[in-house]
Amino acid sequence: MSTAAVAARSAGLGLGLKGSLSRNRRWAMIASYFFLVLFAIFFLIPPYYMIVTAFKSDAEVAHMATNPWIIADGVTLDQFKILLTQTDFLRFFRNTAIVTLCVVAITMVVSVLAAFSLGRMRFWGSSILATGIFLTYLVPDTLLFIPLFQIVKAFGLLNSYWGMVLVYPTLTVPFCTWIMIGYFQSIPKELDEAALIDGAGHMQMLTKIFIPVALPGIIAAMIFAFTVSWAAFVYPMAFLYSADQQVLTVGTVTSLIRGDVYKWGMLMAGALLAAAPPLVIYAFLMDYYIAGLTAGATKG
């Protein structure tokens, strides 16, 4: 066989192989896109419905004959105006923001310190304690609110959003500590030893080395604490009953649903406004969030 013939044959073989590979890849891509689009539609329907309804007039919402998926009578901001001027929505928003800020701050201080000591400072029982902390996260809040009711009452914080500042960390601290333990454990031990030799104490080691290095994990934990606190429903439902102390989730629902009268337009406008802060925060910090969660998961 001549050299040219060999070259031509091997080129042909190469092409054949490449062809089959790219065909496989094409099918995989088609299948991926199909399912991704399907999921995206599935998950985007509720927000879409929310947005469309929020910008409709009450009359259009109530009209049974109109198409619920489109705005037929023109976009209106009436729902937002009424919501912001004639209801306690802004107060709910303020209460939620205060509670969330406090909960995130408390959670981060407690869980970073707890995770640092459990993850990095070997002491008797530290691994059992770490597992124990995670186990507490497995107890659902629907079970916890009854004993917590007694505790909140004992502190005189029933019907006060400060009670929420006390109880939300029972949900956020265990999980955030768990994420942070995984993250801190993934940092090589030579880093603390280098810091020790450089002259750092444990607190300096934490603030100057561990927190900056574990920032993606800390931000992931922060987003989690924020989400839990912003979206909590069971606890405020159980512990808060006057409008001036209410938070967004329960407040919006209780003030805009009167008996069997649902103010759909305002409910959707309220939901849209309530969803805005988490959306903005997620958009900015999503990369950190994913990096933080995966690092904790694989290296912890």
Binding site: P188, L191, L196, I197, D198, G199, K208, P212, V213, L215
Partner: protein, 365 residues
Amino acid sequence: MAEVSLRNVVKRFDNVEAVRSINLDIPDNEFVVLVGPSGCGKSTTLRMIAGLEELTSGDIYIGGEVVNDRPPKDRDIAMVFQNYALYPHMTAYENMSFGLKLRKFSKDEIRRRVDNAARILDITELLERKPKALSGGQRQRVAMGRAIVRNPKVFLFDEPLSNLDAKLRVQMRTEIKRVHQMVKTTTVYVTHDQVEAMTLADRVVVMNGGAIEQIASPQDLYHRPKTRFVAGFIGSPAMNFMRCRLEQNGAGLRVRVSDKISLPVPAARTARYQSLIGKELTLGLRPEHITEPRRSDRDQNCEFSVTLDVVEPMGMETMVFFGVDGQEICGRVDPGSAAGPGEIMRLYANMEHVHLIDPQTHQVL
């Protein structure tokens, strides 16, 4: 500047004795290398000097003072780690200045020291880079810089070159030696690589099973090992060991290693070995001392013929492998003289360098 002393230092992890009562004196400015296989206790010893591990018993002195209970920061030591342990969120400059900042040095002094160390290590232009933007060798330089700026009493190196590729390792080895010559400081260096130990050390401490086998200069260690372990550990390829029996041969002695091979013992050692006649011993001879017959004034009694099993050309020399009484033996011959595998080759054993080892005590006799 300080000397380091270890007195009866023991380290036990649960029931495992990692370091067994070692004694070591390192004079001021000396470069000492702790070398040994994995798990021999060398890193644990270094970490005890650093204060990263507590002693089970014994004392460690730095500069004449017992430092057993002092935390690492109060021992005035600096350490370079195997994986560099650079702070990933800080630039090279910040990494090097971190220890000085914690010790509240003035900004001008910090700048002066970092610039000086950067000049020594040739990393001035890398100071603003973060570790991820540096290569392995550059990271190791920064890690060394972090140690140098502190101007400590003792430098500790924990296998600092293990993560580098072979070429860079050789380059950094020279660099470390150069830095030590410039910044005269007592240095304890841990490695499992005997070539590193031999090239860098003023004195080498060979450790095995948590104990010190021998402390000696590289040349002494190579030529006068005290135990079979040291003889086998130092040198590459490793020393050949053969079962042998010492026999009287007229006024002299011979070692018989097989039915066909019997080699004369140098006359200077006859008196020393006299009491060992008839005993089963182990003969140790380095590959570089088994060659093709070279000098014309050689003792022809030291020659023997073998059938080669494997031939490994290395360029400058060729390794030949052959069996003696079921034991694989290696020789280093001139590439031009090597026979092929399966062929018979005449070899010469330089008996001036022979070691006789007691197979029970493993001591070199």
